[in-house]
């Protein structure tokens, strides 16, 4: 069995930032990721981020990933990075089982940060399993990482920020986006993203969803339907759109499996995307010395994941008596940044979700 002081599971924005602050504090860190490169989903984000400069606003996601990875280079003597390594299990005695190229291993760290991120939800409609129907993230991966087009003519389901941004990225890559469908009566994402699409002539159809996909071996067309104020399909409002790909952007769900497996206290909060762990102010779960950061604590933006990672990294290091020289000051700063990121009308859903989670914790 291998040992390490701090094991971080997941090398996306949260895991990378957690590694940075824990290393700064003096901890010895092992960072594992199942992919063959670090950066998580940032590496396919070609758009510039919003928010404050402190979370790399106005910088493209892929550039943020590069920066976070470069920041770790100074600490190679205390940092071990294991790529192509999947965490298979997390047990209550804090043992983590892993697999890398068919070799199974066990790690027993003093502290763990679970930063496994989230996965894309699907939508229930007839023939939603036809080839050519993809999650929005899959389309980004295919286009922005491998330079391959998902199709020639596409419809996007979901007008949240991901749906809007990926629609724009599809157009940048040369794909015709025939429409964006939104089941709600209003557009979900930022107006600036929606306006960009509208200027390019993409119709954004609100109170409309996909009823079924049609095709023999691959998707050939979809049937859309209008929804009334009770979200019920309006008979006679069906319309056909010919497509060779359909992109589904209906949100993400936290990758809670490792946490659930260790019987960590969890709670279902729909505003946060699904099952999320109860956490202390320091991002420690109900299992001693197991911390969490990023989308696994509730689906938000990459900016919040970075800040949560910073806090979890500091606090996990502190637990092992590695005190960051400026811990108090930067901790205060990070907590303020999180509050700012969640402020305003756009953070309303997250605030409600976190409120529900906290309420439940007191009762439970």
């Amino acid at each position: 069995m291998r040992t390490t002081e701090l094991l971080i599971i997941g090398g996306g924005p949260a895991g990378l930032m957690a590694a940075k602050t824990a290393l700064e504090a003096g901890a010895q860190v092992t960072l594992i990721d199942r992919n063959n490169r670090l950066g998580g989903q940032l590496i396919k984000q070609t758009h510039k981020f919003f928010g404050s400069e402190k979370q790399y606003a106005k910088t493209r996601g892929l550039t943020i990933a590069e920066k976070l990875i470069t920041d770790l280079e100074d600490y190679h003597d205390r940092l071990k990075i294991c790529l192509n390594t999947t965490a298979l299990g997390l047990y209550r005695d804090r043992v983590v089982t892993t697999v890398c190229n068919d070799t199974y291993d066990k790690i027993h760290p003093q502290a763990i940060i679970v930063a496994t991120g989230a996965f894309e939800k699907c939508l229930a409609f007839e023939n939603n399993d036809l080839p050519g129907i993809y999650g929005a993230g899959a389309v980004q991966t295919l286009m922005n990482l491998y330079g391959v087009l998902p199709g020639k003519e596409i419809v996007m389901v979901g007008s949240g920020n991901i749906g809007l941004i990926v629609s724009y990225q599809l157009i940048q890559a040369g794909v015709r986006v025939k429409a964006v469908l939104e089941a709600a009566p209003v557009i979900g994402g930022y107006k600036v993203h929606a306006s960009k699409l509208r200027r390019l002539g993409v119709p954004i159809l609100t109170s409309t969803t996909v009823q079924k996909a049609i095709g023999s071996l691959e998707i050939e067309k979809i049937v859309t339907v209008k929804l009334d104020s009770n979200w019920q399909a309006i008979e006679g409002s069906e319309a056909e759109i010919y497509v060779d790909a359909l992109c589904v952007a209906v949100g993400l769900s936290p990758m809670h499996q490792l946490l659930s497996m260790a019987d960590i206290q969890m709670c279902y909060v729909s505003e946060l995307g699904g099952l999320v762990p109860h956490v202390s102010e320091d991002y420690e779960t109900s299992l001693d010395s197991v911390f969490v950061a990023g989308d696994v604590t509730g689906v938000e933006e990459a900016s919040s994941a970075i800040v949560e990672g910073a806090i979890a990294g500091l606090m996990a290091a502190k637990k092992m008596n590695h005190l960051h020289p400026e811990a108090d000051r930067i901790l205060c700063e990070y907590r303020t940044q999180l509050d700012n990121l969640r402020s305003g009308p756009c953070g309303c859903k997250i605030r409600n979700g976190l409120g529900k989670l906290k309420e439940n914790q007191h009762v439970g």
Partner: protein
């Protein structure tokens, strides 16, 4: 279909890699995953479901959904969306349950 021009990203020509899909020769490029190479060659159907034989393509492309499983070099249930393409690979779509 590959992206020819892009305002932000550069996709420079890479070394071609020859592999086989259901006994037919396909060309991919260095840096492709198996699924990306098949997709670029116009192949979206990666397998068929075990009971109803419904066609399957990938959904998530990052190893979560399991919809891209194929038999690669005789090994079943390989995540083709994560596995990098190698010269001479034998890629076969799965139609029956494999142990």
């Amino acid at each position: 279909m590959r992206i020819k021009q892009h305002p932000i990203l550069d996709f420079e020509p890479k070394r071609p890699i020859l592999f086989r899909y259901n006994n037919q020769e396909v060309i991919g490029y260095e840096g492709d995953t198996i699924a990306a190479a098949l997709h670029a060659a116009g192949i979206k159907v990666l397998s068929f479901s075990m009971v109803e034989k419904r066609p399957r393509g990938f959904y998530c492309a990052i190893g979560n959904c399991g919809s891209c499983h194929m038999t690669v070099n005789g090994v079943p249930n390989v995540k083709t969306c994560l596995t990098m393409l190698e010269e001479g690979m034998e890629v076969v779509s799965m139609e029956t349950k494999v142990k």
